[in-house]
Symmetry: C2
Subunit: 108 residues, 2 copies
């Protein structure tokens, strides 16, 4: 997890440093629904590489936004979900969805 000193002064820039980039926002969109396994996420997020998905999940885990649940089963079962802190991202998701819907209604 970053310390306060490592984050930008601007709160928008702070949020962008944590979840900016296309893929993180789309991963969060999925995780808000339920827990997802890695392979499920990769299948659903068309075009994401294994490396980018791994890195994105790892960064969001480091930043305290995503929780990795290892069920300690055989065969291995692991899934990812939002932490309580990660759930604070949901208003951003709602605002993105509202804008997406508005934009589509506004254009031809």
């Amino acid at each position: 997890m970053k310390t306060k000193d490592e984050l930008p002064v601007c709160p928008v820039a702070t949020a962008v440093s944590l979840v900016g980039g296309k893929w993180k926002l789309l991963i969060i969109r999925n995780l808000r629904m339920r827990s997802w396994r890695f392979n499920e996420l990769q299948r659903d997020l068309e075009g994401i590489s294994q490396k980018v998905l791994t890195d994105s999940l790892r960064q969001m885990m480091d930043d305290g936004l995503v929780y990795r649940h290892d069920y300690q089963e055989m065969p291995p079962r692991v899934d990812y979900s939002l932490t309580e802190l990660g759930e604070k991202l949901l208003p951003i998701m709602d605002a993105l969805a509202d804008f997406g819907n508005y934009y589509k209604s506004a254009i031809k």
Copy 2:
């Protein structure tokens, strides 16, 4: 401007396709305050290249989010601002700012 058929079905993915990426969100953060000249934006957005700023502004102009005002003066005077459609992005900016502030208060 894209047509409806060119946009993803998912409204979050639609919004991300329009403003996803670190720099567009930071440009919009600035343009919400007032009109900005190109050189001003480039100075303020530390680390952005001329090409990325040009491309980002052009894409957002194509998508109807940003307006380029050429005052037809000599020496040339041009600035950029949000269109009415672009102002519909402001709830996203507010949600990002709220999250950034919350995150900073939540971490050490």
